[in-house]
Symmetry: C2
Amino acid sequence: MRFTSEQRLGDGLLEREFTLGGIPGILWTPASASAPVPLILLGHPPLGLCKMYPRLVARARHSAAEGFATATIELPGSGDRPRWPVVEQARADLRRAMEAGEPVSGEIVDALVLPLVDKAVPEWQAALDVLLSLPEIGGPVGYSGGVISIGIRLAVVEPRIMAAGLFAGSFVPRAMFEEARQVTVPLHVLLQWDDEGNDRQAALDLFDAFGSKEKSLHAHMGGHTGVPQFAGEAAARFFTRHLK
Amino acid sequence: MRFTSEQRLGDGLLEREFTLGGIPGILWTPASASAPVPLILLGHPPLGLCKMYPRLVARARHSAAEGFATATIELPGSGDRPRWPVVEQARADLRRAMEAGEPVSGEIVDALVLPLVDKAVPEWQAALDVLLSLPEIGGPVGYSGGVISIGIRLAVVEPRIMAAGLFAGSFVPRAMFEEARQVTVPLHVLLQWDDEGNDRQAALDLFDAFGSKEKSLHAHMGGHTGVPQFAGEAAARFFTRHLK
């Protein structure tokens, strides 16, 4: 891991950009922390870190106020990373189906999400190895946000993830429902009740499928980007309960 | 309204029992309040105030810590109030159907719930008239808990109710779905995902039906009485957002 920039933001937040094996990432830590702090990995949709930055830094700022470090990495095929023809093709197929008002087939969803999960999860794990070796990061570790399938796979294969706050706002391949049954860490699932691009019943079925003994579903009114501010505060309290 | 007892409990909570037109009730106020405080009506199932007391006083204590007065009254046909043959018959029919493993018919649900709503709602409104005339109670007013159909009707017909935290844990007559569409106040709906006596899909349909622009569904694992403590804290924050 190589830090490429360091900047002190307002509210006592230290932001450091890094690269790790050619993958860009950002680490935010509470500047005032005197002891190692727990870490929340900030998941996000594959739109590129630049486009997601304003929302990510807002989440980082809230998390830092609660005493958490946060970190994120660029997803394969997004932002400054090399384009990825297999996923670009699936995105084009998805756009075409949605513009034609057709149902989005399981094949399109599989082609869109499964390669992303397979490639991204080991990258998040590699980032975790390095982040946890920093003296200012302790543990435990949580995963927060979307892509929900990445969160599911990480929760299953990565024993250092102790709690996950997942956003049920993206297409989920059928195969991920089986993996969801294997998730046992505490879960806090957000659902936007009128999410345009999301199948509400599939999200409810997925929530039902999770194997976790403690899981909560918080559904709020509005579309994909309309998550109310108090929902973010509730998610923060979830992580405070489980990672502190 | 006639106060029949007054008791200072721990945590600065003043408990006063009262009767109003022959209906027993309890009022809890934060003993330390120097100005009139908002009021939350505590709904509860028709099991009698004595049986419900431990849970009610716990809710009253949490609410008082947030600066709320709380009050509740006995439901028709429950506790020390005269028995009510029409509802007793419906309860017997319900028990018989459930013990026989039969589906609970719409007729049984209607007979069980609709008379209770028709009779209880004006009683809650009469209690509200008197409670709001006390110098220590200001407003605004919220309704919290079950019977969810009583909460729905109150939210529709009683303009002084400014927010409702409803427990989707009881049978809901089909006619109440139409009333739910007329609800416009902010809603916070609790659902126990594995509630034995409750139809999860009906609860989700009911949540969808509510006309409120701000409504949140919080679903947690476990059965009817397994609402986790952090769910109560989230409900308290909902009332603080809307009644303060």
